[in-house]
Structure formats: structure tokens, C-alpha cells
């Protein structure tokens, strides 16, 4: 187990370097002038451009810039923006908000998705099953911004049940609707996966055994069937956290959440490569760590899996 963990952690290194370089290079090759609009209506003076180019090594090849960036990164320094603001500050301010939103989305998605999946998996082709099938199709087919704007307008503006936007305090109650919106598509996939998994395992011999032992139906389903059926669902949920955080940009925009989505957008427009890369680098880390956690969780849930 210890050796497995070590190997997995070592595997993260090339993946981490590869992905971050790719991002760095992509941002570097996006056309656009980092000095556009920096000096009001006029073009920036030559000296200023020369000074900034020197300071941020903008004339160096991308590899050199990248190496320099990574060097700082390993010392915990994400660099600074052209206006001199520390990227660390931006990350510290924006990431917790996005993480909160993503966690709320994940919780809602797990709760509703699994419940719907279990109920329909046990009783296929009933009314509830059809209802869930149709509504999951809706959630998958509709783009997030449609669901977002419709719910915001309906619940926030028309009926006034919730605040249409999230305040800077990020209260849990305010996050329920944005969380639902953010997690909506994944929720549909979770529901469908749970349904299939339950329906498949329901016929398994060990479920029969559990019934033949005279256990109450509640226990047969809640202990024997659920534990086996949820293994793939848990995997899906675990790897989804990174996707939710990275995909929060639209939802954050609609509900005015001060998260990484907004920062990334702003940074891309102004060609602040340090900011873009840093935010994405942290996102990559979240993905990698969650993947590792899911693999470890998998072993805990299914004793047949052994890691060497």
C-alpha cells in the first residue's frame, strides 16, 4: 500500500509538468497585446514596454519563461500580474468561493442523483422511472446557462424565494440554487449510472442470498445492494469535483460569484499569463489529487481490489 502510494505520487510529477507546460504554452501563443489599453487611449511609451518586457522576460523563449515560472512556483510563488498584484492573493480570494460552490453542487448532485437512481433502479418502467428519465434528459440537453438564467429569473425574480445573486458572504442557503445549476448535468449522469448499477446488481446471486437469509428488505437493499452498486457512482462523484470547479465559470457569471471563473476570464482577456496558468495549475492539482483519492477509496469499497 505504501509503495503503491509512492508510485502513484511519483506518477503525478510528469503529468503535472506536462499539463502545466501545455497550459503555459497555450496562453503564450494566444494572440493579443498585453499592453493594449494599459496606458489609457494612447499606445504605451517605448520605455514602459521595454521595462515591462525586461521585468517579465516577455522576449525570452517560452521554455525559459516556463522554467522560471516553475522555479518560483515550487517556492510557493505564483508570480504577479502586470499591475504588480500578487497572483497568490487572487488565488486565495477566488478559490475558496469556487470550492464552496463546487462542494455544494457535488452534495446536491450526490443526494438527488443517488436517490433518484436507487428508486428507479429498483422499480424500472414505473411512473417515477419515466419521470426521472425525461428530467435527466432535460438536464443533460439544456446548456447550463439556460438552466441558470431560467432558475434565477423564476426563483429569484418572479417568485422571490431566493436572492437572485450570491452575496460576498457565500451563505449556504444562497448557494443551493447555483449549486443545483452547476451540478445539474452531472446529477443526471449520476442518477442514470446509479439506476443501471442498482438494476444490474439487483439480480445478483448475493442479493438472493441476502433475501434467503430472511433479512428485511430494507437491509437487503440498504446494505447488500447499495454497497455494491455505489462503487462506480462514488468514482464518478470523486472525479467530478475538478470538473465542477473548472466548469463553474458560467454559473459564477450568472450568480455573480467571485470565483476562479471570473478571474480566469479577466486574465485571458488581458493576457495575464501568470494568473491564467496559476489558476489552472491549481485546478490540475485538484484533479490529480481527487483521482488519487478515488483510486484509494475504490480499494476501500471493494476489497477484491489490491494494490501492488
Amino acid at each position: 500500500m505504501g509503495r503503491y502510494l509512492l508510485r502513484r505520487l511519483l506518477q503525478l510529477v510528469p503529468v503535472f509538468i506536462g499539463t502545466t507546460f501545455l497550459i503555459y504554452w497555450l496562453v503564450w501563443s494566444v494572440p493579443g497585446d498585453p499592453f493594449a489599453g494599459k496606458c489609457g487611449e494612447r499606445r504605451c511609451p517605448e520605455q514602459y514596454v521595454a521595462f515591462m518586457t525586461e521585468k517579465y522576460q516577455l522576449d525570452q523563449p517560452v521554455l525559459v519563461q516556463y522554467a522560471h515560472y516553475m522555479q518560483n512556483l515550487f517556492q510557493g510563488d505564483f508570480g504577479e500580474t502586470f499591475s504588480g498584484r500578487s497572483v497568490n492573493d487572487i488565488i486565495v480570494a477566488a478559490y475558496p468561493n469556487t470550492l464552496k460552490l463546487a462542494l455544494v453542487a457535488l452534495a446536491i448532485e450526490a443526494l438527488i442523483g443517488i436517490t433518484a437512481g436507487v428508486l428507479t433502479g429498483l422499480r424500472r418502467n414505473g411512473f417515477l422511472d419515466n419521470l426521472v428519465l425525461v428530467s435527466t434528459l432535460f438536464l443533460i440537453a439544456l446548456p447550463v446557462f439556460v438552466i441558470g438564467f431560467v432558475l434565477q429569473w423564476l426563483l429569484g425574480v418572479q417568485w422571490g424565494i431566493v436572492r437572485p445573486t450570491v452575496s460576498s458572504e457565500m451563505r449556504l442557503t444562497e448557494l443551493l440554487v447555483p449549486g443545483f445549476v452547476l451540478g445539474s448535468a452531472s446529477m443526471a449522469y449520476v442518477a442514470r449510472l446509479a439506476r443501471t448499477s442498482i438494476a444490474e446488481n439487483r439480480r445478483a446471486d448475493y442479493v438472493r442470498t441476502a433475501i434467503a437469509k430472511g433479512l428485511p428488505m430494507r437491509r437487503v437493499v440498504g446494505v447488500h445492494l447499495l454497497r455494491n452498486s455505489l462503487i462506480p457512482v462514488v468514482t464518478l462523484l470523486g472525479t467530478d469535483l475538478g470538473a465542477l470547479m473548472g466548469g463553474a465559470i458560467v454559473t459564477e457569471g450568472i450568480f455573480a460569484v467571485n470565483g476562479i471563473g471570473r478571474e480566469v476570464y479577466r486574465a485571458i482577456v488581458t493576457k495575464e499569463s501568470a494568473t491564467v496558468v496559476s489558476i489552472v495549475v491549481v485546478l490540475v492539482l485538484v484533479y490529480l489529487v481527487m483521482n488519487l483519492l478515488v483510486d484509494l477509496l475504490y480499494a476501500a469499497l471493494d476489497p477484491r481490489i489490491r494494490y501492488e
Binding site: Y206, K213, L215, R227, N228, L301, P303, R304
Partner: protein, 316 residues
């Protein structure tokens, strides 16, 4: 009992009657697909519905029909009144829980015992089925057991609540020959100790001779013959049984080719009219294609479903 599938309705059990008393072993014998497992599942109430539907009949336990009971009443009989062990212990045990958990669970849920006490009882059960190092085996998972040990664990689990009747559905088919004999011995021993009724489902006549008191032979979802084990071997009263007996390899006929029953068992969606065995029966007469022979008593304690059963029994 029938299966309603896309291809049609399969009448899987059709007039099966058998009973077992305390301390008695009844062997249910028949080819693959003859409906042995489905009968047992109907008795236990663990049929897959759909496609399986019970369309009539009774399953009586102490005289009470289990099919008309409430679900709760029926559940209480499972495990305590009637328990079952399955052919493939690997798939019948839950892969994600320890063997010990799955045995102790019954003591906790059905007997309301605490964790420690249930564990102690479960280890005792593992001991009783002669699993070495029962204590450490308690916390292992099914895939860490060998095939024979797994079946022993399955037996321990089924006997935990001290059932009055045990249904064993081909308990040894998945095992090697040497292990088969050990498991059969264990089953026979436990049955004797506990004086429980044992319904042993098998297609292996060799297994039956040593342990069974009575035999019920199934063909195409019916009982075609039922008799005391010695009488059945000495003088089978149904051509199908004769065919089965002739197809057992025998030491004194070494070198001779085995005789087997010609043809295949019928498709249960399309059972031939008259006696279901008539297309394969060497004794078939025109009447066999028209009239279904009912299961009738041909001698005290034995019954056969053949138009010519009387002749078979009275023949020397």
C-alpha cells in the same frame, strides 16, 4: 410457475409435489434445465419476478401455505424455517463484506444480539463446518477463501439460525471431486446432528445414493418418479429413471461405452403433447402422445408418471 419472456411463456414447473420430514433427506434429481432450481426458488420466494410468475399451487410449511402468507410472515420463515445454500458460493456471498460479517449479520438482525456476541456465535458456526482458524477467517473476504472453504462458509451461514429444512441446490457441482465428497459428508453429518430435513438438488446420481432417503426425479418441470432410494435403484418405475441409471459409469462395465438417453430435453415453451418424455422414450406407445400420465402411486411409498409404471414395477 412460468417464465414470461420475449420469446414466449415457458411453463417451467408443472405439477411438482414433494415433501420432506424432519431428519429426512430428499434428493431432487434431473437434467440441467428440468426446473430443479426454479422449484427451490419458488419455495424460498426468491424467484426473479418478472420474468418468473407463480401461477398456482401451494408451498406448505407445517401445513401453512407460504404463498398466501404476508411478506413479513414469509420472511421470518426464511433462514429459520427453511434455509438454502447455492451452487456457486463465490457469487452467492457478497464480495464486499467479510464472511464473518455475513454470518454474524443474521444473529444481529434476526436474534437481536450485540456485535461481540454475534461474532462469537459466527466463529462457532465456522468451527462447526470445520473451517480451520475460524477466528482469523472471520474477518476475511469471500475471494480469500478456496472454493471448498467458501462452500463451507455458505453452509455455516445457512445453518446459523438452525433451520428445520435446508435446501441445497447443487452444493458441490462447482468443486473438485475430492472436495465434493468432503462437503457431502459434512452436510450429511450436520443434518444428522440437527435432525433437519434436507432437500438435496443434484443431477449427479452418484452423490445421491450415499446420502438420500428418498428421491424425486424431475423431467421437464414435472416429478416423473418418487421413491425410496433403494427401491428406485433396484427397480425404477419410469423409463426416464431407467435411462438415468444406465448412464452412470460403472466399475464392472469398464471399457463399455456409456449408454446415454437419446435426444434432448424439451423446450419448455413448447412441451410435446402427452407424456413430455415420449420423443425420447424407448417404450413409447401411441397413447403416450395423447394422454399426459399423472403421477400415481404404484406401490406403497412410491409414485410414477408413466402409463406403463405398473408393468415396470411388476417386472422382474
Amino acid at each position: 410457475m412460468e417464465f414470461r419472456t420475449r420469446d414466449g411463456v415457458a411453463k417451467v414447473i408443472n405439477g411438482v409435489t414433494y415433501h420432506v420430514d424432519a431428519g429426512e433427506t430428499l434428493a431432487v434429481l434431473g437434467e440441467s434445465g428440468s426446473g430443479k432450481s426454479v422449484t427451490a426458488q419458488t419455495v424460498m420466494g426468491i424467484l426473479d419476478t418478472p420474468p418468473g410468475f407463480v401461477t398456482g399451487g401451494q408451498v406448505r410449511f407445517h401445513g401453512k401455505d407460504m404463498l398466501t402468507m404476508s411478506d413479513e410472515e414469509r420472511r421470518r420463515i426464511r433462514g429459520e424455517g427453511i434455509a438454502m445454500i447455492f451452487q456457486d458460493a463465490l457469487s452467492a456471498l457478497n464480495p464486499v463484506f467479510t464472511v464473518g460479517f455475513q454470518i454474524a449479520e443474521q444473529f444481529r438482525v434476526r436474534r437481536g444480539m450485540g456485535r461481540a456476541e454475534a461474532k462469537k456465535r459466527a466463529i462457532e458456526m465456522l468451527d462447526q463446518v470445520k473451517i480451520p482458524n475460524a477466528k482469523s477467517r472471520f474477518s476475511q473476504y469471500p475471494h480469500q477463501f478456496s472454493g471448498g472453504m467458501r462452500q463451507r462458509a455458505m453452509i455455516a451461514m445457512s445453518l446459523a439460525l438452525d433451520p428445520e429444512v435446508l435446501i441445497a441446490d447443487e452444493p458441490t457441482t462447482a468443486l473438485d471431486v475430492t472436495v465434493q465428497a468432503q462437503i457431502m459428508d459434512l452436510l450429511a453429518e450436520l443434518q444428522r446432528e440437527r435432525q433437519m430435513g434436507l432437500i438435496l438438488i443434484t443431477h449427479d446420481l452418484g452423490v445421491v445414493a450415499d446420502v438420500a432417503d428418498r428421491i424425486a426425479v424431475m423431467y421437464a418441470g414435472r416429478i416423473v418418479e418418487e421413491a425410496d432410494v433403494y427401491e428406485l435403484y433396484a427397480k425404477p418405475a419410469h423409463p426416464y429413471t431407467i435411462g438415468l441409471l444406465e448412464s452412470i459409469p460403472r466399475l464392472d462395465e469398464k471399457g463399455q461405452e456409456l449408454r446415454t438417453i437419446k435426444g434432448l430435453p424439451p423446450n419448455l415453451m413448447n412441451i410435446p403433447p402427452g407424456c413430455p418424455f415420449n420423443p425420447r422414450c424407448p417404450m413409447a406407445q401411441p397413447v403416450c402422445r395423447e394422454k399426459i400420465p399423472p403421477l400415481l402411486q404404484v406401490a406403497p411409498g412410491r409414485a410414477s408418471a408413466c402409463h406403463f409404471a405398473e408393468e415396470l414395477v411388476s417386472r422382474d
